[in-house]
Symmetry: C2
Subunit: 330 residues, 2 copies
């Protein structure tokens, strides 16, 4: 199947375009009429670096690539709008597999109210996806950067942490037997946390509406992402490890692998939850807004913003962990 035929088939599978899209895929460029400000982010994933085809289905690979990109829009509190996808396809990837990849993306796009508005397809030695997402807000001031955390603000996270790391552990173990205390339903849901993360778009919008002063998505681990928020805000983030909401099953998976659950929750990454700072007096409003925005979603206070720099995580024993972050090309 050639490029244009594949593109035509891809176009047929795209969900209907959003209101701001005047012209979708198929011309030199897509045409949109944004109402106010736009937030734009790019995320690229590469086979062997970010995913393995023997551990994830092509639909999951497509889903996760788009989810990771949309998560950056969630972290701005932006309304998701359009996605543009560049695909590098290896010769051994069949037509059906290409379309499965796309279906995974299209399903998430539809669920997230995002229009797949354009893209490019090329041959490549290894499978890669580079996804640009565009979100919208009525004005630039309504978008939440990493730089606005102020001393006195409460630090909050959405959902639970460590689930994606536990899922990765389960996938890495190639375990046919789930660890003690982890039933097959729970094990499946942990694997899904790793393979099919859900961008917290509604929660991000709710936090922005409730006055969040700074926000970042937890893609590289709470420790490293907190450090980036602290640096951008020129403030210190003090986190109480005992307050971090741990994913159900994390304790058991960690025990089975002889690992520290907190290490997985703080350093594991890929949870795609949101870390935000909110003014102390608006914390309850933020909590309520998030719970209303996403059914079953909790917002948990895990610490506070103070004067100073860096991140200090107080461990249950009283020791202070200062995550150095990391700097790897991955």
């Amino acid at each position: 199947m050639g490029e244009f035929e594949l593109l035509a088939q891809i176009r047929e599978r795209l969900p209907a375009a959003g209101a701001q899209v005047r012209l979708g895929s198929g011309d030199d460029a897509a045409v949109t009429v944004p109402g106010g400000a736009t937030a734009t982010s790019v995320d690229a994933v590469v086979e062997g670096v970010h995913f393995r085809r023997d551990r994830a289905s092509l639909a999951q690979i497509g889903h996760k690539a788009l989810a990771a990109a949309l998560s950056d829009l969630a972290a701005m509190g932006a309304e998701p709008g359009e996605a543009y996808v560049a695909l590098g396809l290896p010769a051994d990837l069949g037509e059906g597999e290409c379309l499965e990849l796309l279906d995974g993306m299209a399903a998430l796009a539809a669920a997230a109210g995002t229009t797949l508005a354009g893209g490019d397809v090329t041959r490549a030695a290894e499978l890669f996806l580079a996804i640009t997402v565009v979100g919208h807000a009525d004005s630039a001031e309504l978008l939440v950067t990493r730089g606005g955390a102020r001393p006195g603000d409460i630090l909050v996270v959405t959902g639970e942490l460590g689930g994606a790391a536990a899922g990765l552990q389960l996938l890495a173990d190639d375990a046919r037997v789930d660890p003690p205390g982890v039933g097959s339903t729970l094990a499946s849901s942990l694997r899904a946390r790793q393979l099919e993360p859900r961008p917290r778009l509604a929660a991000g919008g709710a936090l922005a509406g409730a006055g969040a002063t700074a926000m970042i998505d937890i893609s590289d681990g709470l420790g490293g992402d907190a450090r980036r928020l602290a640096e951008a805000s020129k403030a210190c983030l003090r986190i109480d490890a005992a307050a971090i909401p741990l994913a159900a099953g994390l304790q058991e998976v960690a025990a089975g692998a002889d690992r520290d659950p907190l290490e997985l929750a703080i350093g594991g990454g890929e949870d795609y939850e949101l870390l935000a700072s909110v003014p102390r007096e608006r914390f309850e409003e933020a909590q309520q807004a998030v719970e209303e925005a996403e059914k079953g979603m909790k917002l948990t206070a895990i610490g506070e913003v103070t004067d100073g720099a860096g991140v200090e995580i107080r461990l249950p024993g009283g020791a202070i962990l200062a995550p150095a972050g990391y700097d790897q090309l991955a």
Copy 2:
């Protein structure tokens, strides 16, 4: 050098942000405030498929990747705005080479009035660049699609065709000796047509302003791109081959390689000139507008739009060539 350090170095080299950019690279997403409509296009290039590191410098690779993306904005008549770059970097690419790649992109971005507003960097087995460009217009109606050519319109092209194909021939020959009749200056300029194409942004804007009814950039060859414009417009494009403006030196390079210069001009591709249809009564206005917009640039009438379908190219001997286009994944 790690990802964040590299990103920090990259950020330092970026030219100043354009007026519509409220927040550039470094947060979860870039923030812009577009005035009216936006045109967005994605273009991905992969080592071994689109370029070879032994034939092009890294600065040229960066330049050409961005040029190809911006060429799609030119074909919409959009004002260039922002570019977002996903880079896949192989392990053998050193820090200096990464920065050279970026410098090539940044130089073109500055010349083209484009802000490099964000990106992502990842490890990859082979070098790839996936570039999303966003252009602007006061309203969606001012952007020119491929679909508006009407019977009676004059078909025009900017500049000269076949230069990039001739340059590729010179590069492929690995010729230390330039062909008879091609001086070293001309040979260099043909190689530059292949390695450092210039997106026709000003000409595209001028054509849009002069009422172009349809427009496409000639990236895959006049024959194939004309076919796409004909299909989108549901019309027939009749082209007089004798009227096609051939690049200086093309005849000589083609003769030296025992190839037909018209074949190179029609099928060669990568000239990144514009093919457009303009109402007959506005042809002279369009010609003048393009000449004023880009110094030394000519606009040439090469045929007309008629009822029917497809593309008919009348060759000098009287034969009619109906390019089937092609459909390869490249």
